[in-house]
Amino acid sequence: MAAMIEVLASGPLATVQDLGRPGLAELGVSRSGAADRAALRLANRLVGNDESAAGVEITLGGLVVRLGTAATVACTGARCPLSGHSGGWNAALSCPAGTVLAFGSPATGLRSYLAVRGGLAVPAVLGSRATDTLSGLGPAVLAPGHRLPLGTATAGPPGTGGDAGDTRDRLPSDVTTLRLAAGPRADWFSLAPLHEAAWQVLPDSDRIGTRLAGPALRARPGFGRRIAELPSEPTLPGAVQVPPDGRPIVLGPDAPVTGGYPVVGVLPAADLDLLAQVRPGAVLRFVSAPIGPRSATAGRPR
């Protein structure tokens, strides 16, 4: 039988993801890649893959795949009821050829990851197999009938994946608290509401951005004009932008590489992974995180 997996059902959204296309922002290419990078890395470690191998990102369950060959797989991220194998989450599972794995809806969390030993060997585009849902780079969004070839991206024998129980148990609860480090335009806004309010994730959130409902953030006196005239600035996944309506958007992996809205904060990588597991309707709170390199400096007078 062929070294591939066949998609029988995709659920609300299933895509091939790896660690994306970092370093191409100056060509206008977004990073893309797994929304919860730690979960994909863990799944890959569990099956003995290189951490950057491509797997399937599953959104709210619903994926059904048939294995065309005997394979070792691992499921991580939001825990779905799994039929087709008696084994559990966050573990390497040996499956005979013809196994049909069906993912139910997760009770908590949003995104689950399926890694297969050897990785998914769909053609790489600009060094990555990730589907960028905004630009269309990479493989198509998964649909029934798609066949995904398996590759040879192994790094060692299937293992325990090391710290399998670590951050993956840090799935969101009713209220998820995220750390937020300062962004370049933090001092243009009255940010007290950002840190005091409960923010609800809106249903039109996706891999491009997580939209939040709450009290509108207001410009500090005298900054309205600078906000209106701000020319495009580089952006990163995890950046918190404030559009004119004052309702913040946290940029996701497929967001454009530049944007014209001021960035008031940036989620650290681990918190961006956690945000990827927060469902629409759930509630976020932000706490201040220390800045990495250094806070704003005077530089040369201007």
Partner: protein, 209 residues
């Protein structure tokens, strides 16, 4: 470079805000040239340059000082950067907004075409979509704000203006820039290395066809 500020951008990046748009590319070049192992990428935009750092590097606290030294050195001894060969684009000036741009600028259509095709532009940065370059050097008489509500679909190859920039849509997409014409050039081609025809620093000449 006449001046800059370093602004925080989360835990593993620093944003350099330049005093003048013309300082953006020199700053980018000054930060790229040394090839610092902890610098993962340098991304230019309209007035700012983002320096992405390896969050695991032990010396991350030192990097803002390193950035300052790079910028100071480049200011003290500006190097004549090698100017790459220009990219030449043939443009058919038949865009949907050509007439209204002429009216709003108070210029005849032929003069809009002349002023738009005369300068040697430079790709200052890319964004919006893979291969979309923001070309600086637009005649100030042609500066107009973008449409209040974007068109749902702008054809691939559309040559357009907005604010201080001109650019070419690499593929059909929604867009709010004012359309002056079209080119048949392929702006982004995955089978080409590199795939983007226009990259930061590339000079561009437009030729009315």
């Amino acid at each position: 470079m006449t001046g800059w500020r370093l602004l925080p951008y989360g835990q593993s990046a620093v944003l350099v805000e330049l005093a003048r748009p013309a300082d953006v590319l020199p700053a980018r070049n000054a930060l790229l040239a040394p090839g610092h192992p902890a610098v993962r990428a340098v991304v230019p935009a309209a007035r700012t340059v983002l320096v992405l750092l390896d969050p695991d590097t032990p010396a991350i606290a030192e990097l803002p000082s390193w950035i300052e030294r790079c910028l100071s050195a480049a200011s003290a001894a500006p190097t004549a950067a090698d100017r790459p060969e220009p990219v030449h684009l043939a443009v058919r000036y038949d865009g949907a907004d050509l007439e209204s741009v002429a009216q709003r600028c108070g210029l005849p259509v032929a003069e809009v075409i002349r002023r738009h095709s005369e300068p040697e532009y430079t790709v200052q940065f890319c964004g919006f979509a893979p291969g979309f370059g923001y070309l600086s050097g637009l005649d100030p008489a042609l500066r107009l704000p973008r449409l209040a509500s974007p068109r749902p679909a702008v054809p691939a190859g559309s040559v357009a203006i907005a604010g201080e920039f001109t650019g070419v849509y690499p593929r059909s997409s929604p867009g709010g820039w004012l359309l002056l014409g079209r080119t048949d050039a392929v702006l982004f081609d995955l089978d080409r290395q590199p795939p983007a025809l226009l990259r930061p620093g590339t000079p561009v000449r437009l030729h009315p066809a």
